[in-house]
Amino acid sequence: MAVLLKAQDLTTNFYTYEGAVKALDKFSLSIDHGCTFGLVGESGCGKSVTVRSMLRVIQSPGVIEGGKVLFSEKADAEPVDLLALTEEEMESVRGDSISMIFQEPNAALNPVITIGDQVAESFLFHRVAEMSQKICDAIDSGESYGLLTPYYRAMLGVAAKNPKAPLLKFCSQVPFLKWWDKPVKKEALQRAIKIIGKLGIANPEEIVTRYPHNLSGGMKQRIVIAIALACHPTLLIADEATSNLDVTVQAQILQLLNDLKKESISSILLITHDLGVVAETCEKVGVMYAGTLCETGDVKDVFSTPLHPYTQALLTSVPKFNQEGELQSIEGSVPNLVNPPSGCRFHPRCPKAMDKCSTDKPELKELIPGHLVACHHADRVIGGLS
C-alpha cells in the first residue's frame, strides 16, 4: 500500500526554565492510505505533541528541531515535506487535506459563535473559489439573488479566479460594498447544515443557530467532527476524540468514524490511551513511551504477541473481561523528559533491563515482517526462537 504520511526523525523540544524538555526524540512513523492507525501511550509520552508537530501547531515554548514529515495526498504523487512549506501553504493544508479533531470539545468550540458559523468557517477558508464559481454559474443560468445580483456576479467572478485578490480585500473594508460575499456565506451555511445532518444530528437547521453551551457533550463532539470533516480530508487526526465521553456515546462516535472512513476519508490517525478502543477500531498500532516509538505493527500481532516489555506491561495493567488474579502494574512513573534516561528510555522501569539497555539506544527494527520493535531484549527473544 502507498504511504500517505511519513514522519522521519521528528524532534521537538520545549524550552522551559528547567531546561529543554525533549518531548520527541527522533520519532518515525508511517501511515498508509486507507488505514486506521492507533497511537497509544501514557499521558505525557508525547502523543499529542507528535500530531501537533506534524501539523506545525506546536505552541511556544515548543520548537520543532528537525526531521521531515512527508505527505503525499494522492497515492502516486510526489511527497511534500510539510515542515519545509511556508506558513501560508501550510494553512491551505490544515483543515483541507489533513484535519484534526481536538481533545476537549468544550475547549475546541468558541462559546460566543454559533455552531453554524463555526462549521461554515472551514468552507469560507478553503472553498471560496469553488463556491463562487458555483454561484456565478447559477446567476448565469438565470437565478436571482435580489437587487444586487449584477454586483455579486462581478465580484464573485473575481473571487472564483483568486479569492485573495486585492480588490476583494479592499471592498471588504468599505460599507455596503463589503456585502459582496453574502451569497457565499449563505452557501457555506447550507453546506454546514448538510454535513451536520450527515453526522446523525436531528434537525440541523435549528442546531446551526445554537451556541455550544446549548448542546450535550456527545453533540459537541459531533460538531467538532463535522468541522474536521467539512472539506473531506485525506487524513483525519482524532486526538482523544472519545476520552471524555460515556461508554454509550463513545460507541456512537466510534461507529460514526468507522462509517465515515468507508465513505469519504482515506485514513484516520487515532490517538488514545484506551487500549480497548484501539483493539476494536484500528488496523495498525504504534505504542509510544517517553517521546519514542517502541513498537508498531498490526493490531492483532502487537496485542497478541507484544515484543516490547512496555507493551506487555501496558496490556497486563488494563482490567479485562475475564480478569483473573491481581492486575499487574508498572512500577515507577513516566520519567521527566528534561533529563530523559540514557539508552533505552524505558530501562529504569523495565523488568528485563540489561546493562546494554542503559547505554545503547535501541533502534526500531523489523523483527517479524510488519512488526517493528525497539528493544535489545526482543532481539534475543527472536534470536532464541529462530
Binding site: 501514557e42 499521558s43 450535550s216 457533550g217 456527545g218 453533540m219 460515556d246 461508554v247 454509550t248 456515546v249 463513545q250 460507541a251 456512537q252 466510534l254 461507529q255 490511551h273 484506551d274 487500549l275 480497548g276 478502543v277 483493539a279 476494536e280 493490531v299 492483532k300 496485542f303 497478541s304 506491561a313 501496558l314 496490556l315 495493567s317 488494563v318 482490567p319 479485562k320 473481561f321 475475564n322 480478569q323 491481581e326 492486575l327 499487574q328 502494574s329 508498572i330 512513573s333 513516566v334
Partner: protein, 345 residues
Amino acid sequence: MKKKIIELKGLEKHYPVFGGVLKRQVNSVKALDGIDLDIYRGECLGVVGESGCGKTTTGKAIINLHAPTGGEAIYYPEDGDPMDLAKMSNRQMKNAGIRSRLQMVFQDPTTSLNPRMLIKHIIAEPIKEQEKLSARELEKKIVSILEMVGLSRMHLMRYPHEFSGGQRQRIAVARAIAASPEFIVLDEPTSALDVSVQAQILNLLDKLRKELNLTYLFVTHHLLVVKYISTRIAVMYLGKCIETCPTDELFSNPLHPYTHALLSGIPNPEVAAEPNRIVLEGDVPSPLNPPSGCRFHTRCPFCIDVCSREEPVLLDVGNDHKVACHRQDVVKELVKEKFGIEGYF
C-alpha cells in the same frame, strides 16, 4: 448473614431552579429521585452509569456533603442504634462522632489537595480532629499511614505539586483512612490517572479494604474497573437505581436493557472478532423534566406501551439480584434476537 452498614430508603436530592422576576423556584433538577439501596459491611459496591445520572450525588448525599432533600439514609454503627443521616445537621454528625467514620476520596487529586499545605499537615488534619496526640506520636502515626499507602517518611515535608498524579491519589487515600473510617466514598478515584498507575491504585484500595475491613462505595463510569474491584454493582440511570446484583451475576446475567447497552459498549482490549454493539440513540434526557413511566423508555430498543405509563419498581428476582424493568423476563431473548448477543465473556 451480612450486616448492613448503610440503608437508603427513597433518598432524594433535588436542586432548585429559580426563575421569573421574583426569582421564585420554578422547577428542580432531580439529581436523585428516590434511591433504594443497601450497603453491607466489608463490601465494595460499584456504582456505574453515564455522566449526569447522579452517581456522584449519591455518594455525596449519603455522607451528607450535600444535604438530601428527602428520604432516609440510615447508618448502622458497629455498636449502638441506627441513625438517619439525612435528617442530621453537620454539627450533630460531628458530635455523634460519625463524621470521621464516613470519608471520601475525590476524583481529581490535583484539585482536592490544598497546594499550600505540607503532606504532613494534610494527613494530620483529620487525626487532630478526633484525638489529642503529642507531636512525636502524631508524626509516628502519620508515617505509619503513609507506609500503608506505599509512601515513606521522606515524603512528609513536601507539597502536593512535588508528586506525580498516582502519588497524589495515594495521599488523598491516606487522608481518608487517617480518621480510621468504616465507610469511604470513592468518587472516580482512577479516572484522572494513567492505565499503568490506575492498576497500582486499584490494587492498593483492594488491599486496604481487606486489611482495615473498610466498606467502599466506588463510583465510576468504567465497567471493567468496577468488575475488577467490586463485589456488588448498582447501575444508575437518570437519578434512579435500575439494577443491583453481585458483580459476576451482572456480567453473566444482566436483565435491564440499559445494562445490556452498557456492557456491549465496553471496548475490549483483547482482539477478537467484530463485536455486536447495542448503540443507543440520542443522549440522556434532562433531569429537569424526566420522561414519564420508565425513565429509559425514550432510548430503549424494546419499549412497549406500559413503559411510558407506569414506572417499574425495583423487583427482587432471586440471587440477590434486583431489577426495575417491565420486561425483565424477556429482555435476554429480545437482545439475542435483535442484536445477536448471547453473552459478554
